[in-house]
Symmetry: C2
Subunit: 341 residues, 2 copies
C-alpha cells in the first residue's frame, strides 16, 4: 500500500509531515509506503534532519512546485496544477497511491478530492467525518462543516457512510447511529431533524434516536453522530477550543502552585492529536484532512487511519452498502408504484 | 420591587428556592421582596429550616396547589390553573409582582410567559438568552433553544433584545454583537447566517461580524452572540456537560493523588450557577428560567438578574428600541417605495 502525503500542508511544513511519516512507518502496523509530495529540496532536508534510518526505503518523494495557501480554496485547485494537493490527489486518481493525506487548506482538499476522486455513485454530498473525544469511546461526527443547508437524505447517506467508517476503521461492530438534536422525543428539533429522524428510523441502520449536546462528552450515547454541517462545525470548533483552553488554564494554575499532579489522563481525553485526521467520506478513494496546526503525532494518526481504511476495504464496503440501499429504495418505490397502479 | 419566585420548580423544591431567596435578600443590593409561590405548608417548613431571620419580613407566600412536572409543557399550562407557574406569572401579569423566576419546566415557563405576559409589540418570537462563561467576560447567547427554523429577522430582533439585556443587566455599554457562524467571511455559513449577516450589518447595532465556535471560550469575541435555537441549544447543552464532566474528572484525579491544589479559579469559569437564570427576552415583563437542577446559588443569581432588569428599566428600554427600529424600517420602506415610484 502507498499513501500520498501532502508534505506542504501544515503550518510547519514539511518538517511536521516528514516527522509524522517517519513515526508512522516505525509505529503503525501494516505493510505500507509513504510518498511525500512537495518541494523536493525542502523535503530531503527535513528527511535528513528527521533521521529516517531503517524506514528510509519505504519513503519516496514526488516533486511539486506549488503550494495552496490556507486561505485558498476551489479556484486555487483549478489554477495551481502543480500544487502538492493536486499532484498528490493525482497519484491517488491514477492508482499510483491508495490514499491521500493533507494538513493543507480544508476547502481546497475537499474541492480537489470531489473533482479528482469523484463522489461515489448515489452520494449527493460527500461529508467530512471527525472524531469527538469523550470520557468513553470517541464518537464519529458528520458532517463536520463541509455541507450546510442539508436535506434529510444527506443525513441518511452520512449515517450509512459513518457506520462503515466506524465499523471498518474504528472496529465498532453494528455501530449505533445517533441524530444530534435538541430534545429526546422524535418530534423535537427543527424540520431537518424531524424528517431525518423518520428516515433513520426506517433505514435498517442501528439507529438509537436523538442525542443532545449534553449526551456527547460523557460518552456511550452512540458511535456515529449525524447532523448538518452548521451545527456540526460549531460544535467541533467549540469542543476543540474549550478543551485547549481548559488544559492551558489548568496547566498554568498547576505550574504557579508548583503542584506535583498528573492530569495526563484527563488531558489525553481532550487531545485531538490522538485522533488526527478527518476523512472525506463518500468519494471514490481515501482522502484524509488534518488541521493546519497539526503536530507530527496527528499526521501519524491520520496515516494510521488511511492504512486501516485501505486494509479493511472501506471504500468498497461503502459502494456495496450504497448500491444495496438504493436497490432497496428502488424496489420499495417500485412496490409503492405497483400498489398505486 | 416584588419578585414572584416559583417555589415548586427545581428538582429539590421548595428547599432550594427558599434557601436561594433568603441568600438573595441578604446579599443582593436593592430594595426588593420575594413572594414564594407554591405549597404553603412545605414552603413554611423550608423557611423555618432556612432561618430567614432579619429578612423574614421581606418574604411572603402565595399558595398554589398544583405543580407542573418537568416533562410537561404547553398543555399543562392550560390545564393546571393553580400551578405555581401559572399563579406566579399571574401575579406579574396583574402588577402584583415586577418579575417572575422559576426553575420549573422550561417549556411550561416559556409557554405561560408568552400567553400571560404577551410578546412585546413587533417581536414575532421571544427568545431565551443564556450566559456562556468564558475565560474573559461572559457572553450572552440567544436563542438558547426556544426557537428553531428561525428567520433572519428573528435573529435581528434577538440582537436588539440581547444588546439591551447586556447593556442594562450586565452593564456593557455599546455591546458588541456577533453572529455564530462557521467561517469569518460574510458569505460563509448557511442561508440563515448569510442573510442575517446582511441585516445585522445594516442594523445600526455594534455588529462585529461572524463568531466561530472556536472564538467563544477564550472570551472577548463579542458581548452578545445571536444564532438559531438549534445550534444555540446544542452548543449550550454541550458546554454545560463538557464543563461539568471535566471538573468531575479533574476533581477525581486530584482526590486520588491527594493533591493540595486549588483550581477554584478555573472551576469558577465553568460554573453556571454563577450566572444562573436565563431570561425570556421579548415578552412584556421579566421572566427568568433556571435549570431544574439549580442549587440555591443559581436561584440567588437569577433573583439578582431580576432586580437589575427591573431597576434599569430593561423592558421599557426594549419597547422603545423596538418601536424606534420599526419606525426607521417604515421610513426606509417608504423611502424605497418613493424612489421606485
Amino acid at each position: 500500500m502507498r499513501i500520498a502525503l501532502d508534505a506542504m500542508g501544515s503550518d510547519r511544513h514539511p518538517e511536521v509531515e516528514v516527522q509524522g511519516a517517519v513515526a508512522a512507518l516505525r509505529e503503525v502496523d501494516g505493510d505500507f509506503e509513504v510518498v511525500l509530495v512537495g518541494d523536493r529540496a525542502r523535503i530531503d532536508a527535513a528527511l535528513a534532519a528527521a533521521g529516517a534510518g531503517a524506514v528510509a526505503d519505504r519513503i519516496s518523494v514526488v516533486h511539486a512546485t506549488e503550494r495552496i495557501e490556507p486561505g485558498e480554496s476551489v479556484s486555487a485547485v483549478r489554477k495551481k496544477k502543480d500544487s502538492s494537493i493536486v499532484v498528490g490527489l493525482g497519484l491517488a486518481k491514477q492508482g499510483e497511491a491508495d490514499a491521500f493525506v493533507s494538513a493543507g487548506s480544508t476547502g481546497a482538499v475537499m474541492a480537489a478530492s470531489l473533482l479528482m476522486l469523484r463522489p461515489l455513485p448515489g452520494v449527493d454530498r460527500p461529508s467530512v467525518a471527525t472524531i469527538l473525544p469523550t470520557a468513553g469511546d470517541p464518537i464519529v461526527m458528520l458532517d463536520a462543516g463541509a455541507n450546510v443547508d442539508s436535506k434529510p437524505y444527506h443525513l441518511l447517506d452520512w449515517a450509512r457512510l459513518g457506520a462503515i467508517y466506524a465499523e471498518d476503521v474504528l472496529q465498532r461492530p453494528n455501530p449505533r447511529i445517533g441524530l444530534l438534536n435538541i430534545g429526546e422525543e422524535p418530534e423535537k428539533g427543527n424540520e431537518l431533524a424531524v424528517e431525518s429522524y423518520r428516515l433513520l428510523e426506517a433505514s435498517g441502520l442501528n439507529f438509537v434516536g436523538n442525542v443532545e449536546g449534553r449526551d456527547i462528552a460523557g460518552g456511550g450515547a452512540c458511535d456515529v453522530l449525524v447532523t448538518d454541517g452548521f451545527a456540526g462545525n460549531v460544535l467541533l470548533k467549540f469542543y476543540e477550543s474549550v478543551a485547549g483552553l481548559m488544559v492551558k488554564l489548568i496547566r498554568k494554575e498547576l505550574a504557579e502552585q508548583k503542584a506535583q499532579v498528573h492530569l495526563d489522563g484527563v488531558f489525553r481525553m481532550l487531545d485531538y492529536t490522538e485522533y488526527g485526521g478527518a476523512p472525506l467520506l463518500g468519494v471514490d478513494g481515501i482522502s484524509i484532512i488534518c488541521h493546519g496546526g497539526s503536530p507530527p503525532r496527528a499526521i501519524t494518526s491520520a496515516l494510521r487511519v488511511a492504512v486501516r481504511a485501505y486494509r479493511t476495504g472501506m471504500v468498497a464496503d461503502m459502494k456495496r452498502t450504497l448500491s444495496e440501499a438504493h436497490a432497496i429504495g428502488q424496489r420499495a418505490a417500485a412496490g409503492t408504484a405497483g400498489g398505486n397502479a
